[in-house]
Symmetry: C3
Amino acid sequence: MVENMTTPLLSDSEAPADALPVCLTSPTVAILGSGDFSRSLALRLVASGVRVVVGSRCVNRIPSGLFPDAVELRNQEGAVSQAVCLVFMAVFPEHYCSLLGLQSALAGKVLVDVSNGAEMNIHGPSNAERLAELFPDSLVVKGFNTVSTWELQTGAHDGSRQVMICSNSTEGKKKVVQLARQMGFHPVDMGGLSAAREIEVAPLHLFPSWSGPVVVTFLLFLFFYGYGFLRGILLPFLAQGGHNAFYRLALDLVNESLPAVALVTLALVYFPGLFAAWLQLWRGTKYQRFPSWLDNWLQRRKQLGLLSFLCAALHGVYSLCLPLRRITLHRLVNTAYRQVKAGTEEPWDELGVWRSDLYLSCGVLGLGVLSLLAITSLPTVGNTLNWREFTFVQSGLGYIALTLSITHTLFFGWDFAFHIEAYPFYMPPSYLLAVVVPCIVLVCRCFLLLPCIFTRLTRIRRGCESKRNCPVLQHHHVVANGIP
Amino acid sequence: MVENMTTPLLSDSEAPADALPVCLTSPTVAILGSGDFSRSLALRLVASGVRVVVGSRCVNRIPSGLFPDAVELRNQEGAVSQAVCLVFMAVFPEHYCSLLGLQSALAGKVLVDVSNGAEMNIHGPSNAERLAELFPDSLVVKGFNTVSTWELQTGAHDGSRQVMICSNSTEGKKKVVQLARQMGFHPVDMGGLSAAREIEVAPLHLFPSWSGPVVVTFLLFLFFYGYGFLRGILLPFLAQGGHNAFYRLALDLVNESLPAVALVTLALVYFPGLFAAWLQLWRGTKYQRFPSWLDNWLQRRKQLGLLSFLCAALHGVYSLCLPLRRITLHRLVNTAYRQVKAGTEEPWDELGVWRSDLYLSCGVLGLGVLSLLAITSLPTVGNTLNWREFTFVQSGLGYIALTLSITHTLFFGWDFAFHIEAYPFYMPPSYLLAVVVPCIVLVCRCFLLLPCIFTRLTRIRRGCESKRNCPVLQHHHVVANGIP
Amino acid sequence: MVENMTTPLLSDSEAPADALPVCLTSPTVAILGSGDFSRSLALRLVASGVRVVVGSRCVNRIPSGLFPDAVELRNQEGAVSQAVCLVFMAVFPEHYCSLLGLQSALAGKVLVDVSNGAEMNIHGPSNAERLAELFPDSLVVKGFNTVSTWELQTGAHDGSRQVMICSNSTEGKKKVVQLARQMGFHPVDMGGLSAAREIEVAPLHLFPSWSGPVVVTFLLFLFFYGYGFLRGILLPFLAQGGHNAFYRLALDLVNESLPAVALVTLALVYFPGLFAAWLQLWRGTKYQRFPSWLDNWLQRRKQLGLLSFLCAALHGVYSLCLPLRRITLHRLVNTAYRQVKAGTEEPWDELGVWRSDLYLSCGVLGLGVLSLLAITSLPTVGNTLNWREFTFVQSGLGYIALTLSITHTLFFGWDFAFHIEAYPFYMPPSYLLAVVVPCIVLVCRCFLLLPCIFTRLTRIRRGCESKRNCPVLQHHHVVANGIP
């Protein structure tokens, strides 16, 4: 038995040699292929203390200095024969069959398939499965394809980069997992070789979690832009014939649509949470799964929030640009001109002054709170928060931002919504449309804070069940979790 | 003995089985409870290659698909009997006593208490200590409560998340430490079970390091806002009866107070460092500890700096909003009107043009430098800097930002401070008040750069002692440190 | 042999004691010196479960509470005698010789040199090499000097901080590597003790990768500022005698130069990539290394991009400040005055309105896209992207930002470039100069997208060789890499 104080200094690599499979006592690793990936892999392996042999068909054509000095360059047969256990296949998958001559030399060894898939929606076996068919006596492991050459060369700076690994051979997987850890990566076991397809296409994904939120935001923008165009430009032009306001397309209309989009998107961040709460109240339990669309929506809240922030920030910058416009200068000068013609100073408009100051203040503060939210959604900042702090920021500050944004809109709209001129062609102004969903969200949220409902929801979330669904288990409140 | 080249491929998990305690050879882990935490824990354990049995009172009520397929669901007795060594207690602490029937089955096993404390200031034993009393024959270990369910499910992405662990049993602690590492966490040993209280309330903290700086900043804001209200609005209103300037409350006064707060807070960032330097000079040694209030202050500099940046940024945005205000338009039009009435163009004011350009430039540049400081205070950005770079940014750039801010204020104030009208009711303008502390800090800093003082301070910081305090040890300059 | 399911719970520290060198069974570590670094090191070692003895010449002068309770304080001889294997030398290198009396006590032990170099360009042996000369019977290992005392005290939060280690003794290096890992650091083997010089000066570097880009940006700024000064202020002043436009120095000229610098710098980000592509096309292979200046340039693209963003952001803020200037008010009032004198309203200038709106829009959007690029260059954000996403952001969005910036400039310039008044003293306006390089980059890029060239380049990048360079190997397309 080990004594207590001895353990710390015993590291991963200190087990006695005699108790281990022979294969591990000489860790020379071979890499077949001499491309960029091979080179970066070799660099990293050498830096991790592994002896590396690179096997290439045309060794003499490799420029000197391309590989580090510690790497031995051989022809393919020579490299494989030196590799005691692990061989990386850094060749294009379409050339796997050209390696069939090495079949017997590779028998019993672990072949690591590092190739990427060519397209997202391909049918047929994955590269790794094809490799396993070609070399039935080898242990094929899929892995490392999600790591870029750049990360291989510099990755030591943050040793927690994930490497997905799968294989039908537990023995082979174990060896690759060890090597990955030694190289400073964080290996993740994805199961059998049938998972290789998924791993191979992983590097082809293009922001999968963003597509939905981006589409929603874009459609909202299109809607508000189109609505504003119809209401403010096209219909007046057709009706009054010749009243040309098309100059508003480039900036005014964009700056009218952006805040509407930002407001609705921000409300959409908090909508699914409320819906989930109502569902739990109605079902009386939290042990039924949410419908998958709600689950998806809940998982996209961060993206929706960031897009809302983006729109709000753009709206802010556009608004600050307003005094720089040619048209602003034009209007100012002509206002002064008319005032002079009229022969009086402009009267003091206390209400107007208060209104403009208040909606500017609410807007600035709302955007400020949204910025804090955006900053805490950065991975490292969020990681330093505990659960209570995270909830405080994301839920507490989020609702404050929503309230400030609604106030900003209402101060902006003021009493104009009650004048008939605000409804040309019976179309309300777009800020009125934009404020509907956020107000509903805010009212529902306040409703959930009513003591009777709040208590019931808390009980359900702590694992209690209402009588309706689970009459037998009334006295069993035990099934619960450590973190509410 | 192991040869040198063999070690790299031997991983953490490659020690021979016969040399180990029986308990470790079959790592099935049991989780009691089937709530959210239990589910997330099971997911992570399975993903880390551990076999998991979940024990629940009402197994048949758990919806299929809630737990991953690899998890076995049993009743509590069955789960405990399968667990060879480790049992996670994912039930609410108030239900611990309902598990007393499992006492003998749990004897000799490691019980991991993952519960949170209910409130910050509770007296009496911690949950883990109560658990240890209830199950005296088990090895109770506190841990994992600081990890959220979300981090359990996704944490593999950054394997360095801290997990605080404490226990009276070194054996038990060792096993939990190993498991935590295997799950991709960074276990931190907090000592005996008496530390459990502290670990349990850790997730209840709400930005503990921020409360002081936030309170200071808020009080400063209140002071400057109140002062400005008194000096600029209330007293003139009372004195002149009817001169109503209350419209300035919403935006003007806020935008006057924010830069004052930002300036004073930024000075407070550099004040304790200077104070510490003077203390070391006066004492002639660095081996006496600073008073605790100074230590606390030194540790809150980052927070103070970020709050200063927040105020400065808000001030910037508010200022940029000024041309958008209704009152600005009003003033412009009336100025033009009066110019026309007077019958002359406004004369060219070269000095005024220079002054406004200079204070705008200083403000923009000062805010820019503060932004760089704020960015480098992000954990990952700061981590990539070495000590010299960090000092250059935080101290060098910091003093540049302070100087620019002071210059900005002085250019803004210009010669107004020397006119009698600037002192209504004998109260100086708030920017004059705000500039006092920063100027003191700057002067003290320059004083410390005087060669004689600088040399002495450097010697003290390298570990030398002045004669006054340590006459015997004059020739011993050895006690020192590697990084000055 | 170990069975499969047993492995996960076997951790790094579970190997049997009898199979290990005696030195490891008692991991008491000694630290010589009692300065800040020694204290921080002791704190971290204790937190990692290591027993620590600190050796100091004047033990009784160390204030109680300076070191944690678990640390034993001894005189130097006592500390060394307790250390079974590892001794940290936390004393200034100039005092190494004062420890010669411990030579025999330190024989056979691993001495860790944690000192920093005093200056960048010193000749002669490194501190660690001098230590090795003084203690020839000890195993000297260089390491830990790049870690700051602050990271030692708090580093557990992110366990992947890099620690560079070198030594001529593999045995010694292995032990230090293990200890570093246990302390939560990521050890990186830098080879033999001759690398100690490089490790010692590492903390003295001041943004080595930034110096080139900063100099380039600064020179560009100087050029554009000087050019604008000559063209817009000095020459008109000399020519017309007395037309004083020197007030433009503080803000106008800076705000004219910044966008020009931002535009050129952004083009310089994409220039080397295009050059590399042309080089590959011309050579017909990717297996020849790029000239080193091109390699350097390619590696500085991130820094150039961030500096471009900084200039663009400053330009944005400066521009938004324009309405706040005294001179803007002056001009507005006088324009209104002249309008009144002329007796007509200012006529509607549709073209001018469109133009100003379009260049503002392009500017805002361009800056927005650049902000996204800057955010993804944060280490943690970039880490969450796969290769395709990274390319999409850095290359796709980058070219969009470049196009928007060029459009912004062209809309700003409009048809002024075709008027003779735009060329006083035959000098074109600076925005015309600034737009040249970006346009070239854009045209070259479009050229590379032509199908015939694109296909050829893709083939070369997949490892194919053109006939010209490698006639013998035509049928060998195998040498390739996993990630194109």
